[in-house]
């Protein structure tokens, strides 16, 4: 029964989701919203599982004095602080001027922005590796990247300003993006779409069931 019930629910929900795309009539037109709401409710309750798991792992690290236990202490203190301040703030805890809001704007947001900003450096290091002309494919990639990048900045236009309109670097960059790049992207998208349909069908029909865990 541990597998049959989830498989049955998957089958029903899967078929209904497919049907609601083609049938605009009630109740099918409402089902997407209903199931999404149910998922949100289940996920909202499940958040406690995650939070408790995080606290448990962190507490165990501190108690057992495992390596890097200090980071676990930071997690617990941060968690406790935000939850306390949030509940203490009542219903208006997110309003501007509250302690929660201040912590959110001056601690959480800068930390997130810092992580996002690191991406710029990682793009540089990854590009350096990807654009090394080791073979024909990598050389083509390097060439395409060179023209696209140069075509997207004013100097690219200036360098080829002696050429007739339509044959300058910005136009070449646009052509590369609109044709070879789009063609490659679409090929990947078609493969992904077919894979999605195939996987969904396997899950709906219960052929793929390893994600359901033990018997």
């Amino acid at each position: 029964m541990r597998r049959e019930v989830p498989l049955f629910i998957t089958l029903i929900v899967g078929v209904v989701f497919v049907l609601q795309y083609f049938i605009p009539h009630y109740p099918f037109n409402r089902m997407n919203g209903w199931f999404s709401d149910w998922f949100s409710i289940v996920a909202a309750f499940a958040i406690w599982l995650g939070a408790l798991n995080l606290l448990k792992i962190s507490f165990m690290k501190i108690i057992n004095r495992k390596s890097d236990w200090f980071y676990a202490l930071v997690i617990i203190l941060s968690f406790g602080l935000m939850v306390t301040v949030g509940f203490a703030g009542g219903e208006a805890y997110r309003e501007p001027g509250t302690v929660f809001s201040w912590l959110y704007d001056h601690v959480y947001t800068p930390l997130s922005a810092t992580m996002f900003a690191i991406l710029a450096f990682f793009v540089a290091s990854a590009s350096y590796r990807a654009f090394r002309a080791r073979n024909l494919e990598a050389s083509l990639l390097l060439g395409a990247a060179f023209f696209v990048m140069l075509g997207r900045v004013p100097i690219g236009d200036w360098l080829t300003s002696f050429l007739p309109e339509g044959y300058r670097l910005p136009q070449l960059a646009t052509w590369i993006m609109n044709f070879p790049q789009t063609a490659g992207q679409r090929a990947i998208m078609i493969g992904i779409a077919l894979g999605l349909v195939s996987t969904s069908l396997r899950i709906i029909l219960g052929i793929e069931r390893s994600h359901l865990g033990s018997e």
Binding site: F122, A126, L201, I207, S210, S214
Partner: protein, 420 residues
């Protein structure tokens, strides 16, 4: 050919697909033509009935139920006023009433040059009459009072209704039926014992090597199942592959760590890893804390994993699932730590990052094929072949479409347009 196979010949299969399509359409129900024919508007009396505002003639007002929708919408269309082309019309006002003689209420207005309006506030239980008037700038500013509309020709009655099939999506429906038929056909063939050729996927061939490397080095394996929840097919695919990786890790007695960013993924991944360890004959080696929750926050999750990678230096890292901007942050940190990395995602915008930073990358469909490829279960392999048949069909369509469009013979691409 065996008797069992005979009923699944491609010809019969194609016939079944056509019949299924026809059956589906019949069951879905062709929309009932509830739209009522409108009577053309006689505009000759319009200006006479008004004293302060001059209305311009609007002809052939048509009202009908908007097709392929969930009801509650009526489409009103009309012929351009003869004054429209002369630049005299500023706005068209559209009025609605439940009786032919009013009272009318204004439901919308459109600028000159627009000759239709969707009334999305109709009730399926009521019939309506509509009236369209064209006004010049001065009259539009002055506005109309309900009594000015008395005696104006109306169109109707019409009532909106919900349809049982959206015919604008018929192409998607046929494609789904065809693809489903291909997949089921190939699954049947695979079940009957027919050998299916599946091309080698380098990223999946390397899974053994990657797990073995971690064993030799005596270090951990990290498995990152993406940042999305269990309602995402990529996450399901990632968790499915996790089962195969966990089985290998259990056999090799290598520590597998699965940091997750969603509570539901935590529960599912735990079940999957637990089962994999049991399957490998090592239920005792499974530890619940191998799969642990970090945070739902995208960059918080990336920061936590980066920290663990830098401190614990795992030998192998898997990234399988849906990723966004955190993909490169994770993969570059893993690359710098010297771990062998295998990634798989169906997010086209993140694929270049994984290709640049990881040793192997499962590109799009390969992520979804991984479970079948690693398990070698005939039913799963059959579905891959069905998928390939769909791909072949699309390839043929692309070639035909390119030829037809290039030589301007027929607008082939409109067959593939989907209106949401």
């Amino acid at each position: 050919m065996s008797k069992g196979n005979r009923k699944y010949t491609p010809g019969r299969c194609a016939l079944s697909a056509v019949l299924l399509t026809a059956l589906g359409l019949i069951l879905a129900g062709v929309p009932v033509a509830t739209a009522q024919e409108s009577s053309p508007v006689d505009t000759s009396v319009v200006t006479d009935s008004l004293k302060t505002v001059s209305l311009l003639p609007v002809t052939d007002v048509e009202v009908r139920d908007n097709p392929n929708d969930e009801g509650g919408t009526v489409r009103i269309s009309w012929r351009p006023s003869t004054d429209d082309s002369l630049g005299r019309v500023a706005l068209y006002f559209i009025y609605r009433a439940v009786a032919a003689d009013g009272p009318f209420e204004k439901i919308g207005e459109v600028t000159a040059g627009t000759f239709s309006l969707l009334d999305g506030n109709a009730s399926d239980d009521s019939s309506y009459y509509y009236c369209v008037v064209a006004l010049d700038t001065k009259s539009a500013k002055a506005g109309l009072t309900p009594d000015m509309l008395v005696g104006l020709p109306t169109a109707g009655p019409v009532s909106s209704s919900a349809q049982w099939f959206n015919f604008q999506r018929i192409n998607t429906f046929v494609a789904c039926i065809l693809l489903t038929t291909f997949i089921l056909l190939m699954i049947q063939q695979a079940k009957s014992g027919k050998k299916l050729f599946i091309r080698k996927i380098a990223g999946l061939e390397a899974v053994d090597e990657a797990v073995g490397r971690a064993t030799e080095m005596g270090r951990k394996i990290f498995y990152v199942p993406g940042t999305q929840d269990m309602d995402n097919v990529q996450t399901i695919a990632g968790v499915t592959i996790l089962g195969r990786v966990a089985e290998m890790a259990a056999q090799y007695e290598t520590w597998l760590q699965v940091p997750v960013s969603r509570s539901l993924v935590l529960v599912t991944a735990r079940e999957v890893v637990k089962e994999a360890y049991s399957k490998a004959g090592r239920p005792d080696a499974y530890h619940e804390d191998q799969v642990h929750y970090l945070t739902d926050d995208q960059f918080g999750y990336a920061a936590a994993i980066d920290g663990m990678v830098v401190r614990e230096k795992p030998a192998t890292i898997f990234y399988m699932g849906a990723f966004y901007a955190e993909s490169l942050i994770l993969a570059e940190t893993g690359n710098a730590s010297g771990a062998i990395q295998i990634a798989g995602t169906a997010m086209p915008s993140q694929l270049p990052f994984f290709v640049a930073s990881c040793d192997y990358t499962l590109i799009g469909e390969e992520l979804f094929a991984a479970s079948a490829y690693l398990s070698r279960e005939p039913k799963l392999l059959g579905s891959l072949k069905g998928q390939d048949m769909g791909k072949a069909l699309i390839l043929v369509a692309i070639i035909i479409g390119t030829l037809l469009e290039t030589f301007g013979i027929w607008d082939f691409s409109r067959l593939f347009s989907v209106i949401d």
